[in-house]
């Protein structure tokens, strides 16, 4: 192992040297990030001081390409990891390395790679360093493009499970898969000019893990397979994918022998100034991991996106967000974005955009008639795509209006109404439904000398219950707000010049049912940006909550202290 590592390093370094000697040669790109935390004890918000007081996360990627040749590696370091980062990141070492060759016809990678088949329902190897999500495959991948419009892929490898004392620990099971997609219009000349654009694809993925359970006879090879279709006609587009998973008893599904299935359908209509999206999803028993005993975000082979908008405002995104339920859910989403014409009476000189979004998720219907869950089949219920029950998991209605009044002033107003079933998609200690109403106003002002100011005002109000647990109105005397009650956030960001900015944010839990915990959470940040380099320093209190990037979230404990971060791209 050590020899291999050294070899890879030497290779990279010598290549780096080579490329610099010869400007016409290869190209090096990459990036790095370092985050340092020094944390204090803060009993009021439940923030602990780690034993080492200081925490440090770093990584650096280096990618080299020269003609058809490519190579890359990442060194990672957790000394120890920053607060809230997943526990399976520890030590310093090489977290990723690969070599490969690619031309227009074939692309071969040996070592680590990330990949996605179709919409990811059957396979997605993905990373998000900010979240500590990394299920890279380690093995071999080949992509072939034999003809215009045709793409074939094959992957074979072990998944990354953890990074222990600076070394990658692989998952117990191996993952194999093939995927193909063809665009009919580009492949067949006859269809090139047709208005209807058609793509068809299919994938087959299989995992192998030894039966390590003494009590059960477990399937050692588990396949997941299905097809997808994309249609586009003028301004309309529809795409869908269906994946079936074979019997896969696991910790996630309590070792049942049911088949799993997942369906995702997205339809869009768009023209200049108007966009409409309708989505539907049905998932049952689709947790698919290369180790049947693992949970959380570990060694997932596939990706089951939750069907709701990813919000950005702090109180909206991090207090009561919804995470996908891989065991089963049926979800729908609709979104419209409409821009009022520039120069019209309503639209104003610079135009106004209105965005309305609604999403909801329910538990799938599980039929148990005529099924004995204790019999030898291990099948405990039957279910079908879009067979829905009336048990609500989630709903989110939101509207967002943004308007630019003149060259220097713009404003965004937004309202959110969210219902989260905390018994299912648990984010806090409360029981039952948590309903929240959130109001946001954002004002931006740009001064003449390139300075600018941004102000965010947010308020989150939760539902009330009386002492018997019955819901009461907002103004009832005997009503107590659920969970931690109501919140308000004020954030001001001031850009001093093209390099420097400062911001201050305060999250105030003014409506906490326990008056002792009505705490302010002030947080100061100063940042310096120079080209592709950014340095920020922050100091203050951060509440416990979910830290989300894109569609994935991780819980972060409350903290009080200093955070320094440095990012650079090259």
């Amino acid at each position: 192992m050590k020899k291999r590592t050294l070899l890879a390093l030497t290779l990279c370094v010598s290549l780096a040297g080579y490329s610099q000697d010869n400007g016409q040669g290869g190209s090096i790109t990459g990036n790095m990030e370092t985050i340092f935390q020094y944390l204090n004890e803060d009993t009021l918000i439940g923030a602990n001081q780690p034993d080492s007081k200081g925490l440090l996360n770093s990584y650096m990627n280096v990618f080299y390409t020269h003609g058809n040749f490519k190579a890359g590696m990442r060194v990672e370091s957790y000394l120890p990891r920053i607060q809230g980062y997943p526990s399976n990141f520890d030590g310093t070492g090489i977290g990723m390395r690969y070599i490969g060759y690619a031309n227009d016809f074939i692309d071969i990678t040996l070592g680590n790679f990330y990949e996605q088949f179709g919409s990811g329902l059957s396979l997605r190897a993905y990373e998000d360093r900010a979240l500590g999500y990394d299920n890279a495959l380690d093995g071999a991948r080949v992509i072939v493009r034999p003809k215009e419009g045709v793409t074939l892929k094959g992957v074979y490898g072990y998944q990354r499970f953890s990074f222990n004392e600076g070394r990658i620990v692989h998952s117990d099971g191996i993952v194999r898969g093939v995927d193909g997609e063809i665009n009919l219009n580009r492949t067949f000349e006859k269809l090139a000019d047709k208005k209807l654009d058609v793509s068809i694809g299919g994938s087959f993925v299989s995992k192998y893990q030894k039966d390590n359970n003494e009590d059960l006879i477990l399937p050692e090879n588990v396949g997941a397979y299905g097809g997808r279709l994309k249609l586009r006609y003028s301004r309309f587009s529809v795409e869908g994918e269906y994946i079936l998973k074979e019997q896969d008893p696991s910790q996630d599904n309590d070792y049942i022998y049911n088949y799993g299935h997942a369906t995702v359908i997205n339809a869009t209509y768009s023209q200049k100034g108007l966009g409409i999206l309708l989505s539907a999803k049905s998932v049952d028993n689709m947790s698919y991991r290369s180790d049947r005993t693992k949970q959380l975000q570990n060694v997932l082979i596939n990706y089951l996106p939750s069907l709701n908008k990813t919000h950005t405002y702090n109180l909206v995104s991090s207090l009561y967000p919804y995470a996908t339920q891989p065991v089963g859910e049926i979800a729908f989403q609709g979104e419209v974005l409409y821009s009022l014409k520039k120069g019209s009476k309503l639209g104003g000189k610079y135009g106004t955009a209105i965005n309305v979004n609604y999403s909801t998720a329910y538990r799938p219907m599980r039929h148990t008639n005529g099924i004995n869950p204790l019999d030898s089949t291990g099948v405990t219920y039957s279910s079908g795509p879009f067979d829905i029950s009336d048990s609500l998991y989630w709903s989110d209605f939101n509207i967002n209006i943004s308007r630019k009044f003149n060259k220097s002033f713009n404003m965004i107003l937004a309202y959110y109404n969210m219902i989260l079933n905390n018994d299912v998609a648990t984010v806090t200690k409360e029981t039952g439904l948590i309903k929240s109403n959130i109001f946001v106003a954002e004002l931006g002002y740009k001064f003449k000398n390139r300075q600018s100011l941004r102000l965010e005002l947010q308020a989150l109000l939760v539902n009330r219950r009386d002492s018997l647990g019955n819901e009461t109105s907002f103004f009832a005397n005997d009503g107590n707000p659920v969970d931690k009650g109501d919140w308000a956030t004020v954030a001001i960001e001031y850009t001093i010049n093209s390099h420097w900015y400062v911001s201050i944010m305060d999250q105030y839990n003014f409506g906490n049912p326990d008056s002792h915990h009505r705490a302010h959470h002030p947080y100061f940040t100063a940042g310096y940006v120079q080209g592709a380099t950014r340095i920020t320093a922050s100091y203050g209190r951060q509440r416990a909550g979910l830290f989300c990037v894109g569609g994935v979230c991780r819980p972060v404990p409350a903290s009080n202290g200093l955070t320094l971060s440095f990012t650079h791209s090259f």
């Binding site: 790095m32 994309k230 869009t268 069907l307 974005l337 390139r450 090259f570």
Partner: protein, 169 residues
């Protein structure tokens, strides 16, 4: 020994990177990654097919500063194109969860850019993007001559100065 070696590698890479900032940036070519645009057409990032300079801007539907940047530039885009022949490529890093909202947003806002989808972060990784927004300026030879992480109002003016500089050469 291994640790010392790693340290050496890290340090040498760092010097390498800082060195590039000081004008040797012609070493950095646009990497080749196959992406699809919002209409499903396959586009090779190293062969975008534009004559003039190209701005590549990484963004996401959930990233407010990204949207501020691209909406601001969109108001200026016609003038920019007339004066410099520049083209902007907006690369969305939205993953499967929010990928389908991209065309809704782009059309709803009436953007004139070429919009590419990078749902699994392949191009993002190859370009060394830590977080969005991150904007690159590419000359007609495919060399990356300027890049900027973050967006504050007014940054578009600096970007435009760099585009003008490039066109004058």
């Amino acid at each position: 020994m291994k640790k010392i070696f790693l340290l050496f590698v890290g340090v040498s890479m760092m010097f390498n990177s800082f060195g590039q900032d000081e004008g040797h940036s012609d070493l950095k070519k646009l990497p080749s990654v196959q992406l699809t645009d919002v209409n499903g057409n396959i586009v090779n990032t190293s062969d975008l097919g534009f004559d003039g300079p190209v701005v590549i801007s990484f963004w996401a539907t959930w990233c407010s500063p990204c949207k501020r940047e691209l909406n601001t530039i969109n108001d200026l885009y016609v003038d920019w194109q007339d004066e410099t022949g520049v083209n902007l490529v907006a690369v969305s890093i939205d993953d499967e969860k929010t990928k389908h909202s991209v065309s809704v947003y782009v059309n709803g806002k009436g953007w004139e850019y070429l919009v590419l989808l990078d749902p699994n972060g392949d191009f993002k990784r190859a370009m060394g993007v830590n977080n969005v927004p991150h904007t690159f300026l590419v000359d007609t030879e495919g060399n990356i001559v300027y890049s900027h992480n973050n967006y504050a109002p007014g940054d578009e003016e600096e970007l435009y100065e760099h585009i003008l500089e490039l066109v004058k050469k």
